[in-house]
Every structure is written in C-alpha cells, then in structure tokens.
C-alpha cells in the first residue's frame, strides 16, 4: 500500500497548505461543536497520497446514525485512497466513457469485498462498560446495522491527463476552470441516502464514477455537507477564509463536522525540504515520542509502520506525540518537519517501540456533552395545579425523586461558608500583623 496521509479525527486541523508535484493542496478539518465540547472524534475523514505525477484523495462523512460512523469513514478513506493510487492503468481502456464504466464495476465489486474486514472491525470495537445501560443497548443495536459512510474520492493523473472521481452520498465536488469559474461534473447526482455500509457494501444505490479530461480543470474542491449553504464561498478560498468559515459554522445550531480539500493544479518547483528532526530516546514506560524542534516547521508528521508496512500518519503541531492507544505490537516511527512553503521534510531515522506501554487510567467516557449555553428560564418542576377530581389526597404512584440532591446542595453551602470564614480569618490575621 502506498504511503497515505491521514488527517487526525480526534482533533481539529485549521486550514493548512501542502505542496505536491501535481499542485498545491489546501485542507481543513473541523469537528462539530458537540464533538468538541464532548472531546469526541469527528466523523469526517480526509486522506491523500501523492506521487511524481499523480495525487489521490478521499473525503468521508461517517453516518452518525450508524455504529461509530468515524470507524467506517477512516476504514473507507484509507482503502479508497490506496485503491485509487494503485490503479492498474495498463489493464484499463483508453476511451474515457468505457474507462468510467469499467472503473465503476471494479469499484463496486471492491466496495463489497471490503465488507469482510470492515465487519470484523465493527465486531471487535469495544463498548465501554462504564456507559449507562441504555447507551450500551443503543450502541449494540447500531452494531447490528453496521458502520456507514458517504465519500467522495479522486485521482488526478498527469500522465493520463484525467481526473477520476467516485462518490456515494451528498458530499460535494466542485471543478473550476482557469478563470476560477465552476463547472459541473458531468451527470453528477448526489443522493443523501446512498452510502457505503460495513455490512452491505454500497447501500441504497451503487458507487458512481466519472472520468474528466484535465484540459479544462484548473482546480478541484471537495467538501462534506457540513459546509452547507456556505459552499459558494469556496470559490475564493484562502486559509484565512477557510478558518473564518469554520468558526462561523461552528456557532450554528446544526453545527456538523466539516472537511474541505482543495487542489490547485499548479505544478511548481518545491522549495528545499526542511531537515530531519532527531528523536529523543523514548522511555519504554511512557507512550510519548519527543524529537528536536526544526526551525521553520509549521507542523510535524509522524509515519507509523509495522513490519515494513505503512500503518498510518499522525500530524502534530508540537515536537512530541502521545501515541494512540489502539496501536499494538512492535511499531516503527519516523518523523518529518512540514511547512506550507516547502517540500515535505526529510524523514528522521526510525525508532521502534513495543506497544502498548503502561497507560494512565482512562477516565470514564464523557457520556453527554455539556449543554450549549442558552438564555432561558430554568426548566421547572411543575407540580399539578389541577383541582382534585375525587377529593382523595395525591399519592405517589412511582419512585419519588430522592432527597440526596437537596442534601448535597446543603453540604455545598456549608463548604462555601466554611471557606469564606477561613478566608476572612486569614485576611484578619495578615492585616492585623501589619
């Protein structure tokens, strides 16, 4: 599998630029307001991979009503990016129409084949015992349905001079000409109900494929539906505008995960790469990697391999990384310094670490997010004010609310008073001594 760069799902990535031989890549990943407040991963996913004359990319939008939509989004995103990178052109027809049909058949067949591994992944996903029973029940019910995701993916191929696009669902892809004017992807239909399922493969329809000659294409933009009605603003895209857009959307009631990826097809010579960082000797008892900072680095990218096979990449802004808890076995790590204005940095020497190492106790999962602040009257208990019908005294016909809440409130008040008294005493003593 080629090296695939993946953007973290459990944190936000402000607008960032990377240089590839085929052009300039700009992307952003922003979790919904709910996910941010709850410290949860987003369910969108971005992945890309590039060579001397090609670039593949995938954006996924996990279905939140399915089982851990982020799981399907990541699984599918990585697989699709790799599948597009490995296209065997020599076995494919030259005619674009026939090429599109053939790729469609191959893709739909592959999407079905992937359900085996995906189903295993879904079956193995642990559900915390610390979650309330009703939540566990709901999640187990979802597990039966499987994990689902929509996607839009593409391959820009300079040697063939074509753009291959495939998709399911209502994510969007825009094409722009040399004057930065949009034009339609021919015959594109975006259906919300269509998606890939870990259990069924293509669901509510088949994956769609389009092949477009690159003659007219100067720029490509893909994004998830979290962008909503603000999508036309992507016509004039800068990192600053993207960050502002994400901030605006985050404050909306229906704040959703946002993933945006944009490619300007402007082959340009890349500035010299940043030098390689140097790893500090890792502590075998601590799951943290440290390395020397590199001047000019805007972020760092850690590549993870196991037995020589690429596993994933992880980006971080500071010269250290807390290793994800799902990595197991002997892992090999290399790190490179990254900058928007430079070619990808030189890779460091590799270090190995046997995982897992002793991890600090994991806090109970945040079951619910704090409610967003709203100006409202407090939700009140509304005891019945209806006149009795029968004249009988009202009786409790269910388990009463316990008095512990009131008792707890009284204890809190006493603690505050005690603290206040102690503070006053401290002030008196100190003032009195001067």
């Amino acid at each position: 599998m080629p090296e695939i760069i993946t953007i973290n799902q459990d944190s936000d990535t402000p607008a960032r630029v990377e240089r590839f031989p085929v052009g300039r890549l700009t992307y952003l990943y922003d979790r919904s307001a709910d996910s941010r407040r709850g410290g949860a991963p987003g369910q969108d996913f971005i992945a890309f991979s590039g060579g001397a004359d090609w670039l593949t990319f995938t954006l996924c939008d996990g279905v939140s009503q399915s089982f851990y939509g982020d799981l399907a989004a990541r699984f599918l995103g990585e697989r699709l990016t790799g599948w597009l990178a490995d296209l065997a052109w020599e076995t494919l027809p030259d005619d674009l129409g026939t090429l599109g049909s053939r790729l469609g058949e191959q893709l739909n067949q592959t999407l079905r084949l992937w359900t085996k591994d995906a189903t295993d992944l879904v079956a193995e996903k642990p559900i915390s015992d610390l979650l309330p029973g009703m939540v566990r029940d709901a999640l187990e019910h979802k597990r039966e349905v499987g994990s689902e995701s929509m996607f839009v993916a593409g391959r820009i191929d300079m040697s063939r001079w074509v753009l291959v696009v495939c998709w399911m669902g209502d994510m969007r892809l825009w094409l722009w000409d040399a004057d930065n004017q949009p034009f339609e992807l021919p015959d594109a239909v975006w259906e919300t109900r269509e998606r890939w399922s870990s259990k069924h493969g293509p669901k509510n329809g088949l994956a769609r494929v389009a092949v477009v000659p690159l003659e007219r294409v100067a720029r490509i933009t893909a994004h998830s539906d979290g962008v909503g009605s603000r999508a036309p603003e992507l016509q004039w895209l800068t990192p600053e505008r993207l960050d502002q857009l994400a901030e605006d959307l985050r404050s909306q009631p229906a704040s959703d995960d946002i993933s945006i990826l944009d490619v300007w097809l402007t082959p340009e010579p890349l500035n010299e790469a940043l030098p390689a960082p140097t790893f500090a000797q890792p502590d075998p008892d601590e799951p943290i990697l440290h390395w020397t900072a590199v001047e000019g680095a805007e972020w760092y990218r850690v590549q993870v391999r196991q037995k020589g096979i690429w596993v994933r990449t992880i980006d971080t802004h500071s010269p250290n990384l807390i290793l994800p808890g799902d990595l197991r076995g002997e892992m090999h790590f290399q790190v490179q310094a990254m900058s928007a204005e430079r070619a990808p940095g030189e890779l460091s020497s590799a270090i190995s670490l046997k995982l897992p190492v002793a991890l600090p106790p994991k806090p109970p999962p945040a079951v619910s997010i704090p409610s967003a602040p709203t100006v409202r009257a407090p939700a009140s208990s509304t005891p019945s004010t209806v006149p009795e019908v029968s004249g009988a005294k009202p009786v409790s016909v269910f388990q009463p609310v316990s008095a512990s809440a009131l008792h707890g409130g009284t204890l809190n008040l006493l603690a505050v008073l005690l603290a206040l008294l102690l503070s006053i005493g401290w002030i008196y003593l100190n003032v009195g001594t001067h």
Partner: protein, 249 residues
C-alpha cells in the same frame, strides 16, 4: 416549510408524555399488563432516542422529555424536564395503576408547561405531546384544552398532539399489519364516539415525520391523523416510535 427544524443539542425538541395510569391499566393485554407494555414501549423509544442522539458514544441532548402520569391526579414523574442524556442515567420509571382518568388535568398541566417553555424555543422543532389512554376521560372535557394546545407552537409549527388509545373498540376493522397500515383515513373507520373525539384531538402527520417513520418501515400516509389504535404490541411500538420521529441533525 413546517416541521423541518432538526433536533440538535442547541435546539432540542420537547417531547411530553401524558400517560394514563388509571386502575384499568392493570388489565391484561396479551400476556402482560397494559401498564407494563407501556413501560416496555417507553424503554424502547428511549433507547431509540439515545441511538438518534448518539454520535460515537457521545449522547447529544437533542431530546428534552417530560412525563406526566395521570389518574385522578397528575404526577410529574421526572420532576421537570430532563434531557435525553439525563434520562438515560435515571432510567425509565415504573408505574402503579390506580384511580380515575383525569385527562383534562393532564392536558392542563401540559399546557402550563408549554406556556413556560415556548417563549424560549424559537428555532426549535415544534414540541410533541404523546398521550396514551385506555379509556374515556372522567371529569372535564379535555377537548378545549387540546385545541388551545394545538394552536400553540414555535416557528417550526404548531404543537403536535398524538393520541394512543389502548382498546379493541377503536376501529371497525382491526389492523392486521402495523407496517402496512396507512393510518386512519376517516371517522367512518372508527367504532366509538370516544375514538372519534380523540381523532379530533390528534394532529395531522407532517411529511417530515412520515419520512422518518418510513425509515423504520412504516407506511403511514402524510396527513393521516396522529392517532393510533394500540390493540397489539406492534401498534403500541409504532405509536411510541412516532413520538421520537422528529428529524435529527
């Protein structure tokens, strides 16, 4: 377009359950007491609401729930409004049937709650009242109160009132298949005057709710009255599913 606002953690939907726990609810329906079947259905819909509120394992407070159980008196079971994540922690309460059927009292309490809450619900989906009863009301006629309630609402639409009638004397012809049933099409389908009265106290089914119910496999028609003959567990389940069918983000 009405009834298209989605329930989010910032604009949650308010669902108010009015549950008849009069003495007749201890009668059997199949192999369980009616009140136990209602508790089971409430458990199922609560689990479904959790599923619709869950992203990963994070429960977003997209639903706000209140439960008023009524017999001769009206009892605020949850002690106020609870968000779905709070409800999850506390669990579904159990009910002990007794007393009469003060339906007007229950709707009056619901009206008071709505009067308190609606001023703060701009942008929220229209609230829904899910009323379940197994017999004719005693005391005051609830119809004027319900009509007032159906005239209240948010900018998404008027308050929706759904009625579930546990009785085998509702329809002239029984429902054979809850999934194929399209809903009550006219008063002529109904077998009793009280069923007809409940029909007039039931809101028409919005298209957005119909689409959500279709996802669950049901075939209700848009505009069909939100009134359900709860003759079987399948029908009770369908009716409670309706109460959780507000579109979510």
């Amino acid at each position: 377009m009405p009834y298209t606002a989605v329930a989010t953690s910032t604009t949650p939907v308010l669902i108010l359950y009015l549950l008849d726990i009069s003495g007749s609810m201890s009668q059997m329906l199949g192999d369980k007491r009616r009140v136990e079947i209602v508790s089971d259905a409430l458990q199922e819909i609560a689990t479904e609401m959790v599923a619709r509120s869950t992203k990963g394992e994070l429960v977003s407070p997209r639903y706000r729930l209140a439960i008023y159980a009524y017999e001769s008196q009206v009892h605020d079971v949850l002690g106020g409004i609870k968000t779905i994540d709070q409800f999850v922690r506390d669990g579904v309460p159990e009910f002990a049937p007794r007393g009469g059927t003060n339906t007007a009292g229950a709707f009056l309490a619901a009206e008071q709650l709505l009067l308190q809450e609606l001023p703060y619900m701009s942008g929220h989906p229209a609230p829904l009242i899910c009323h379940m009863t197994d017999g004719e009301y005693q005391g005051d006629d609830p119809t004027p109160i319900v009509q007032r309630i159906m005239g209240m609402g948010t900018n998404d639409g008027n308050v929706l009132v759904e009625n579930i009638f546990i009785s085998d004397k509702i329809l002239k012809a029984p429902v054979e298949d809850a999934y194929a049933w399209q809903g009550i099409t006219s008063e002529a389908d109904l077998a009793s005057d009280y069923a007809r009265a409940l029909l007039r106290m039931s809101s028409p089914l919005p298209e957005s709710y119909r689409a959500e119910m279709q996802e669950f496999g049901y075939s209700l028609l848009s505009g069909a009255p939100m009134m359900f003959p709860a003759q079987t567990r399948d029908l009770i389940r369908m009716a409670f599913t309706m109460s959780g069918a507000t579109p979510v983000a």
